[in-house]
Symmetry: C2
Subunit: 452 residues, 2 copies
């Protein structure tokens, strides 16, 4: 039996590894095609590489093709799958040298995501980069070291945009961060976004919110400036942090149905499903799929390495004859901007509105440690709870230290459908170097309980 995997990053290679663990090479042949040069890498690490905190690209690679080969997974980089023939059970593959087809019994579709590109960013321009792949990271690095770069513009102030803006500050550039919406990090509420905005500005980044990019200005095919509805910003390098969409082109062409978000829809075991049921022998995992948000009950597209790894693992266990399910997400996300930590889980106010919830919010100021301990710094925690029921719908944290990972307590509470009233009794870790006697998480739950 032969398994073909399309995409050699987190989702695809996790699936391949788990399948291999359960079925030996005599039982299952595994062939993975990756169009780029790298396998199983941490795209999330690219900003730290560009910022000079981390050596790259090798350190960002969890497992290279040689290691996979050794464990009996035939992974081929520089191989782009160009077509899937479901009836004939084969894929068409192209390399720099040749084109050929390979047959499969089972297929894992893990093609990832493709960057969102507005019309003004449609064509390639020297000095304009996305940051999706290690190749992108290498290209940015080369540009920064070979061209005389003074001014950088980062377009889009989501996770990657904010992280790249910080990275470029570390490279001693003048950085402008342009965002169409009124706040950076629109995954958190406006009041929390305002704290993020202040921190971005304190870092020396020029933050321009509510600004729409209209065009890129070039000179000899090289970037020169970003033209916006609020003026032109000179730029020797432009980073695009405009988000991504599921890379489903091959699936669509093969007649594989898409879900409501435009991502591939799967069942709990990561088998691709459509209106007519499961697509026989086709699995999907990672950024090309949609996932269930367990709080809203809606399908969403949340491209994150952590989900991709979990989904890939689940697909691989099932392919290997085991049983595992991916029961969805609760919308957890964390990041840092310099020493500011930002975290969220569950639904933001906007998302709660969209899902139809009636809710109360409570925001508290506390500290990471007992107030009298050295290193005690402020932390803001916001909780969103359903009116009447008190069900925890979401939480957001902004703080200067030991803040972001506190979201995990909320994430597990959301997962288990706890009420904020029940949360006030939670037995969280207490010791003066790590928390006030009432942890900020508990204080926020208390305040939400009182607000009900």
């Amino acid at each position: 039996m032969r398994l073909i995997v399309i995409g050699g990053d987190a989702a695809g290679m996790s699936a391949a590894s788990q399948a291999r663990k359960r079925r030996g090479p005599g039982e299952l042949e595994i062939l993975a095609f990756e169009r780029g040069d790298f396998t199983s890498y941490s795209a999330c690490g690219i900003p730290y590489w560009v910022g000079g905190m981390v050596d790259g690209p090798d350190s960002l690679i969890a497992r290279d093709p040689a290691a996979f080969q050794q464990s009996g997974i035939d992974v081929r980089t520089g191989h782009e799958v160009t077509g899937i023939d479901l009836a004939a059970r084969r894929v068409a593959v192209r390399t720099a040298e040749r084109e050929f087809t390979e047959g499969f019994d089972e297929l894992v579709y893990a093609a990832g995501a493709v960057p969102t590109r507005p019309p003004w960013a449609a064509g390639p321009v020297a000095g304009v980069f996305g940051v999706q792949t290690l190749g992108d990271g290498a290209a940015v690095q080369e540009w920064l070291s070979s061209v005389r770069v003074r001014s950088a513009v980062v377009i889009g102030a989501g996770y990657i945009g904010v992280e790249m803006a910080e990275a470029l500050i570390w490279r001693d550039l003048k950085v402008t961060l342009v965002e169409q919406s009124p706040q950076p990090m629109s995954t958190v509420d406006p009041d929390m976004g305002a704290l993020v905005a202040k921190s971005i500005e304190n870092l020396g980044i020029e933050l321009r919110t509510g600004v729409t990019v209209k065009a890129l200005e070039t000179e000899k095919d090289q970037i020169r400036a970003v033209v916006t509805d609020a003026g032109t910003i000179p730029a020797d390098v432009v980073i695009l942090g405009l988000g991504v969409r599921p890379n489903t082109a091959l699936a669509e062409a093969a007649g594989i149905p898409l879900g409501v978000t435009g991502g591939l829809a799967t069942d709990l075991r990561q088998r691709v499903t459509g209106p007519k049921g499961t697509v026989e022998g086709v699995w999907a995992a990672g950024d090309c799929t949609q996932v269930l948000n367990r709080v809203s009950g809606r399908q969403v597209h949340v491209p994150l390495g952590t989900h991709a790894n979990k989904q890939g693992r689940v697909a691989g266990i099932n392919l290997g004859g085991g049983y595992a399910t991916f029961p969805g997400i609760v919308g957890t996300g964390i990041t840092k901007i310099c020493d500011l930590e930002v975290a969220r889980t569950g639904l933001s106010s906007k998302e709660a509105d969209a899902a139809g919830f009636r809710y109360v919010t409570a925001t508290v100021e506390s500290t990471n440690r007992a107030g009298y301990m050295p290193g005690a710094v402020p932390m803001t925690v916001k909780v969103i709870a359903e009116k009447d029921s008190g069900l925890l719908l979401g939480a957001q944290i902004v703080g200067r230290a030991e803040a972001a990972k506190r979201i995990d307590a909320f994430a597990v509470a959301v997962w288990n459908r706890m009420t904020v009233t029940e949360m006030t009794a939670l037995d969280l870790g207490y010791a003066p170097p790590y928390a006030p006697v009432w942890d900020p998480v508990l204080i926020a739950a208390r305040k939400a309980d009182e607000a009900l």
Copy 2:
């Protein structure tokens, strides 16, 4: 109506504050008696005060008597309650100057805990100290600054003993830590205790486990050495970290029934209960009470400020005419020894055995951050799960940074009776500065799932 509170620390004053919040002075008179000099202080902060990291004692006081008086709570320090007459509804009180009685309608018993003292530590010896109260902390400070102290012996290697041993190292003393059981921190499993032992020794503390203290050697009523079954250890100062038991003497004398652990038993609303039902108008909270361990289903005595605060708050809300419950604990505890962080929740292997569980364990080595990030250091996570059902019974973490508070994810999972299988899907925060793409919590859950 008059409420009398016995004990002016966390539990008692939380109760008083919550009751006051809900009932004005015209409706409810609140009188609190504290035999010591301080109210609402952080005893947990004493080691950091002794170690010189924190100024004391003022900074360790959350709220002083004057602040309580201002909010309409008549708290009297230096007032020791010496008797309770339940039938006559009054307490006998003694100060340095006089004795008197005061009547009550409602009583909150929050007398805390008293240190365990073996026969050899029965009488007071100059240079031998407990560390239960701020007064104890002040006495240690005075001794260290007024007497020529070179060698310190800390007896008992639980939380407070370990923390005090570290504090005394910061004071440039030669420190020996003596523990009767074979490992320090017997609240964690032996394999995790071994990691703690190594860290204690690396700190320059001489750790002597499996050693029983037989006597204190004095000269002119002043400490000179600690005599053990394995030799005599010179000591210019001795710290007793031998644990505490519920301070129930007054309650017993008044005929108030005790629970199976020797602590006061309460219902969910913190009303004292006995075999014949609720004791009318008597509430209890804090270190003098027993609490439900939600995992073992057993009553336990766990003297911790965080539980005391919660129980006091619950008692006060109910006293004030509101409704709140304290549904028990899951056994969470965290501490640090220099840069080693130690955490546990749920049941240890020994506790799981005692409760009658059959279980599997899984231990993993991971890192606090993505391996390629600066500051990535090792972390060991151990998970205990019920055989067959996969129910998470407990978890322990030892690490060098960003380790201890990771226990909260486990604590919330234990609280919600999750299985380790379900835990593998948890949506915990991921970003390279804060976690590997599989958080150590998830890796441990995966390994336990595989062990089932």
